[in-house]
């Protein structure tokens, strides 16, 4: 509980913003700037926040009803017709239900469709395992041509959505139900394929996406109190991954921890491990959900149960440092 008290102290007074709300607001702004932007939803426009666009530009908003496969196909057609479609629903329905539509038409056809999926990860909370997308990043990351992004705060969301509107090609952005503390400056710019060092350190690297970037920062503060210097990365551009930053971190710190609200297979942990294995082998600890589905609960209960608290990250950092070459397992 000391960790929780510490975290509360650290984040007290830090403003919070919701990535899905910032998506909705940015989309509404873009609607006024670019008449080619169109928005589609599958009966979740209040939750995904596309309703903000729908109120302002009803003639460019298409609700296809509870039909995610049709959502993706219709978005594809609008893209071929020269529009810039943003298609939104919950992450599990976008990446899961409509995966093959995304694969066959949008990714294979390299179509200019932006899939912005809300309610990613465990922090969906009480709706339970059926609604907690823990597989979406893996499902999107395996698709050729697909860009996969997970913003860690409001400014990053706004920058990513604006970037996606200007980029010609398919993009998947995962937003979240919960608000996150604001980390980036208001004028933050997104650059494809670039990760960011949000805290410098030399002994171990903590790499996160989404809410877990904030937990990594808190873990780094706790590690500092133990005399361990942790570098913290925000790898919000999951694909294409900033492999140079990952290799640099492996070289400089010799050990990495990855943290994500996702299965440990296929997402950030896999992406980082692939780079490290290919280019600069060092020990990696992957924190995430391990081959099980989620369940109902308050977000903090779920994060604790599945081992995604700052304390879990601290322990993973200690473990992975023990695994560095020349150090015996303890």
């Amino acid at each position: 509980m000391a960790g929780k008290a510490n975290r509360d102290a650290q984040t007290a007074g830090v403003p919070k913003e919701s990535t899905r709300v910032e998506y909705g607001k940015t989309l509404a702004e873009l609607g006024g700037e670019n008449p080619d932007i169109v928005v589609l939803d599958a009966d979740l426009s209040g939750s995904t926040q596309t309703s903000r666009f729908a109120r302002l530009y009803p003639e460019r908003f298409f609700n296809v009803g509870i039909a995610e496969q049709d959502l993706m196909g219709t978005a594809a057609g609008l893209a071929v017709g020269g529009k810039i479609p943003f298609a939104s629903t919950f992450a599990i329905f976008a990446a899961g239900r409509a995966w093959e539509q995304i694969r066959q038409t949008i990714a294979y056809g390299h179509l200019n469709v932006k899939i912005v999926a809300s309610h990613g990860g465990l922090t969906v909370g009480e709706d339970g395992g059926s609604h907690q997308a823990l597989e979406d990043l893996a499902l999107m990351r395996v698709l050729p041509n697909m860009v996969v992004l997970v913003p860690a705060d409001g400014p990053e969301t706004r920058a990513m959505v604006r970037w996606a509107a200007a980029y010609d090609g398919p993009v998947y952005i995962r937003t979240s139900r919960l608000p996150f503390p604001v980390l980036h400056p208001p004028d933050h710019q997104f650059h494809l394929g670039q990760g960011t060092i949000v805290r410098e350190g030399t002994d171990v690297t903590l790499a996160g996406i989404g809410l877990m970037v904030h937990h990594c920062l808190e873990a780094a503060r706790q590690l500092e109190a133990q005399g361990i210097s942790a570098r913290v990365l925000n790898l919000s551009c999951l694909k294409p991954l900033d492999w140079e930053l990952v290799v640099d971190s492996a070289r400089r710190t010799g050990a990495l921890v990855t943290v994500e609200e996702h299965l440990v297979t296929g997402g950030l942990g896999s992406a980082v491990s692939e780079v490290v294995t290919d280019m600069y082998p060092v020990p990696v600890e992957r924190l995430g959900v391990k081959d099980v589905f989620g369940q109902s609960g308050r977000p903090e209960e779920l994060l604790q149960h599945y081992g995604l608290t700052p304390g879990d990250i601290v322990r993973a950092a200690q473990r992975v440092m023990q695994r560095r070459p020349g150090r015996p397992f303890s």
């Binding site: 298409f62 009803g65 039909a67 496969q69 057609g77 609008l78």
Partner: protein, 272 residues
């Protein structure tokens, strides 16, 4: 290009396209001969007699081959329209060929989106129709569906969307050849009453003989009278049409003809 209204010229073009299809698939050693031949008169009539190709002041209409396995028929039509030399048809399914086994927009201009996984083209056509409306271009959208294909649930999602958004400038052509890979549609998964289903979903339905160019043309024109209702042309066809040994044979869904079968097919298609 000039549209062709003369049914006899269209029949002659269909015979040429059928020869192309048989030749391509025979040379490739694989491909979907039955569903390509059943759709031939629909595609020839649509492309040579009806669809606007965007020449001069006319808008360019869109076409989506939702039953992507009929790619040989589409390729032959595009070649005979002059999109590429007919000799290139013989590269069907070969490594590096723009004529992929199923249509791929990344390889071949004239293909709007990749298809081949069934059930998705109607949604794409809806999106194109919505874009055309927003763009104010007056473009129409055509999509060719297989009959077995409408067993896919997404088709009915898209059918609702087209009616809900009053996509009167969208026309689906349904190649009702009554066969699918595993057998007759009525045995694998019953489709009837098919016209009533589409009407119940808010569509205008016209049923025609899908091998009669004049009837196809009249049906397409009739469906375009109502500007607020999407239309579907249910075209009754024979799978493998034009080659007696292929006609209405389940086996010829997706196999290449043997040398004897090929020779007989070419004789029938040349003599007719």
């Amino acid at each position: 290009m000039e549209l062709i209204a003369d049914p006899e010229r269209l029949r002659g073009l269909s015979r040429q396209v059928r020869r192309d299809i048989v030749e391509m698939i025979y040379r490739a050693g694989s491909g979907h001969v039955g569903g390509s031949l059943s759709a031939t008169d629909l595609l020839v009539t649509l492309f040579f007699a009806h669809l606007r190709h965007g020449n001069g002041r006319e808008p360019r209409d869109y076409f989506v081959l939702s039953k992507g396995h009929a790619a040989p028929a589409l390729y032959a039509v595009l070649a005979r329209l002059g999109h590429f030399p007919p000799e290139e048809l013989l590269s069907l399914r070969r490594f590096g060929s723009p004529l992929q086994g199923h249509p791929d927009s990344g390889w071949l201009a004239g293909v709007e989106v990749p298809t081949g996984s069934l059930g998705q083209g109607l949604s794409v056509a809806n999106g194109l129709a919505l874009a055309a409306r927003l763009n104010g271009t007056g473009q129409r959208v055509y999509v060719l569906l297989g009959d077995g294909e409408v067993q896919e649930g997404q088709i009915w999602e898209a059918a609702m969307t087209a009616a809900h958004y009053r996509l009167g400038h969208l026309t689906a052509l349904l190649d009702r050849n009554r066969l699918q890979i595993d057998g007759r549609t009525r045995e694998v998964m019953r489709l009837e009453p098919l016209a009533e289903k589409w009407r119940a979903f808010g569509w205008q339905v016209v049923e025609v003989d899908g091998h009669d160019p004049a009837a196809i043309l009249a049906g397409l024109r009739e469906l375009e009278h109502d500007a607020g209702t999407p239309g579907i042309l249910i075209a009754h066809t024979v799978k493998g049409k034009g080659v007696s040994i292929f006609e209405d044979q389940v086996k010829f869904h997706g196999v290449a003809p043997t040398t004897e079968e090929y020779e007989q097919a070419m004789k029938e298609l040349t003599g007719g």
